[in-house]
């Protein structure tokens, strides 16, 4: 049994492409071409050259000595925070902008929650000289102001999504609407392993460079490719998908997914999809999502804009349902505390999304010589105001 997508884009019962006909030609064009294009040597070369020279890959695998000491286990951090623009998101946008060029598109749209994906998209559009429109929920525009400023500096247009919860879900709706209205010249760069097939698989493949590197880096440091656990936070699930990718079908590697419990899983203000979600359709994909009995999608809540999404990618729905992955929900408070601890123990201020992954130690105990790789998906610069306000620093 494999935990990768099958040819139709299904992970077990999850995935597929539940899209209106207006999106069919676009998705179909992608579906028919993505694997072929990605495996072209010229694509591979340009992709890897940019990852190296522009993004700054390989990102280090850093042994966190003081953190390891505190939790009495061996903790490595995969330093996606050191990627250009400050998070793993750019691995995917570099891949997709090259894809868009191969498909002859001259306009890019994207949705963004925390703004990291928006910045990463605006960045690659500037790099390639391509027009860029980013949809962002009105609320997220407020709480992630630095990233809005960055997108503007990069020449992108930021459009506010004013419907629904005015966060990531609604920005995604707006982006899809834009794509429907501009089906020919526009490529939609989705920012996570969500959306209709082939997006989840395509994005996971672009992000898989994370676990590809972990393997040889761990070999160098520990004399073995496999850690005991790989840990990542899950919003849509792209940094997690990248970190798990080459370990999915290696059962001896434990997979831990960390979701945002917001003010508490049962508080009514949460984004803990695995705990609260049921099977359904969101943004063209069959997956777990938070919804009313009636099938209306619930407005999620998390202090972190990047985890504030009512669904998860179909890969993660399958990892949850099949039991392959262990899912842990972390509250706002727990995440913030872990973020501060991380800053002061290791000198690395994590994105609040990532901070959720550092808060698992109260819920999961490890052996002294377990090797844990935590994916440090992004840096916390964008979240400084939130940290400052929270801790009254």
């Amino acid at each position: 049994m494999s935990y990768h997508a099958n040819e139709k884009g299904y992970y077990g019962e999850f995935g597929g492409a539940f899209i209106p006909e207006m999106l069919y030609p676009n998705c179909e064009e992608l579906r028919q071409n993505y694997i072929r294009i990605m495996s072209e040597p010229s694509f591979q070369e340009e992709f890897h050259q940019l990852l190296k020279d522009y993004v700054g890959r390989p990102t280090p695998l850093y042994f966190a000595e003081r953190l390891s000491e505190k939790y009495q286990t061996k903790i490595y951090l995969k330093r996606e925070d050191l990627c250009h623009t400050g998070a793993h998101k750019v691995n995917n946008t570099i891949g997709q902008i090259l894809m868009a060029k191969k498909l002859g598109k001259n306009r890019i749209i994207a949705e963004t929650g925390a703004g990291q994906h928006g910045v990463a998209t605006a960045t690659v559009c500037a790099l390639m000289g391509i027009e860029c429109v980013v949809y962002m929920g009105e609320i997220d525009i407020e709480r992630q102001a630095p990233n809005v400023a960055r997108m503007k500096m990069l020449g992108a247009e930021v459009r506010a999504a004013k419907s629904g919860s005015r966060t990531l879900k609604d920005a995604t709706n707006e982006a899809i609407r834009d794509w429907i209205n501009n089906p020919v010249n526009t490529h939609y760069i989705i920012g996570s392993v969500v959306g209709p097939h082939p997006y989840p698989d395509m994005v996971a493949r672009f992000q898989s460079v994370i676990s590809e590197e972990i393997k040889w880096q761990l070999q160098e440091k520990e004399g073995k490719e496999n850690p005991n656990y790989v840990v990542a936070c899950v919003g849509g699930g792209s940094n997690a998908a990248g970190a798990y990718y080459h370990y999915l079908d290696t059962p001896e590697v434990g997979i831990i997914a960390v979701e945002a419990a917001g003010k508490g899983v049962n508080s009514g203000e949460s984004a803990a999809t695995s705990a609260l979600g049921k099977v359904g359709i969101i943004h063209g994909s069959k997956t777990l999502l938070m919804q009313t009995e009636d099938g209306q999608i619930t407005e999620p809540y998390s202090i972190s804009a990047g985890l504030d999404y009512p669904g998860v990618g179909p890969m993660h729905a399958h990892l949850y349902k099949s039991g392959r992955g262990e899912f842990i929900s972390i509250t706002d408070d727990e995440a913030m505390t872990a973020g501060l601890e991380m800053s002061q123990l290791e000198g690395i201020i994590p994105a609040i999304e990532t901070s959720h992954a550092f808060a698992i130690f109260d819920y999961k105990k490890f052996e002294k010589d377990d090797v844990i790789v935590i994916n440090l998906s992004g840096r916390g610069d964008k979240d400084l105001q939130t940290y400052i306000d929270y801790f009254r620093l």
Partner: protein, 253 residues
């Protein structure tokens, strides 16, 4: 015979109206249907509101949000409609997004439609292959016509596949755009209308998206069997409530 099929055989251009159930007021659903029939429309699409209507433009989206805010939900809509056939005889189509149907249970949903006297379903995000593999049998069992969409970008090959899978009419999206986004038809659309007409499909086509007045209705139905008005009607309701529906219809035809 299914009321839609019967209607399609009439020798006239069909006017179909879309509205969002539970909007402007929660209990407006049935009166609107009755008014529309009285005003002489040929077919009605009853929109089951959804929280994330990604194929719809801002007008319909706002009406959906308002309807949900009014308290509309799947079971309530079925309740409202349960006696509809006592007063109304024109074809009724349920239009919505697939997730609420899935949560209700596809078979249960179809059974309720059948019991009520719904004639067809439009679920833009239920794709052809999934429908055929999993749900066609259920639709057939409950005598429900499934309506597929095509757009200017849909390939001929796929149009033929959709034509084959259809047993009523094809919902012909006038331009690649969310509802209500464009105003009037240009040369591109005319070319598209002609191109489709020449395909001689077995199912008639009814044009939707961008029909807002007599002009666009005529242009859309020059080649096609009929046309659907959605956003323009919702705007009318927003401004006038349910009182002057007949006036609106008269401006179209």
């Amino acid at each position: 015979m299914n009321r839609i099929k019967a209607k399609l055989q009439e020798d006239k251009k069909l006017l179909s109206i879309y509205f969002t159930a539970g909007y402007p007021k929660l209990d407006d659903t049935v009166p609107i249907i009755q008014e529309l029939e009285r005003a002489g429309v040929d077919m009605i699409e009853i929109g089951l509101p959804f929280s994330d209507p990604l194929a719809d433009g801002p007008t319909i989206q706002k009406s959906s949000t308002a309807a949900l805010g009014n308290g509309m939900h799947t079971e309530l809509l079925f309740e409202q409609l349960k006696d509809i056939r006592k007063t109304v005889s024109i074809p009724l189509i349920l239009m919505g997004y697939f997730n609420p149907m899935l949560q209700y249970g596809v078979e249960a949903f179809c059974r309720r439609c059948f019991e009520i006297g719904i004639d067809g379903i439009i679920m833009p995000d239920l794709p052809l292959d999934v429908y055929k593999e999993t749900y066609e049998a259920i639709y057939k069992k409950y005598n429900l016509i499934n309506v597929f969409l095509i757009t200017p970008q849909t390939s001929e090959e796929r149009i033929r596949a959709i034509d084959n899978a259809s047993d009523g009419f094809i919902y012909m999206v006038s331009s690649a755009s969310t509802t209500g986004a464009k105003d009037g038809f240009g040369a591109e659309q005319q070319e598209y209308f002609q191109r489709i007409a020449k395909l001689n499909l077995k199912n008639p086509q009814i044009v939707g998206f961008g029909i807002s007045n007599a002009n666009t209705f005529q242009a859309a139905t020059a080649k096609a069997k009929g046309a659907i008005i959605g956003s323009a009607f919702i705007k009318h309701l927003t401004q006038n409530g349910i009182g002057k529906i007949e006036n609106f219809i008269k401006t179209i035809r």
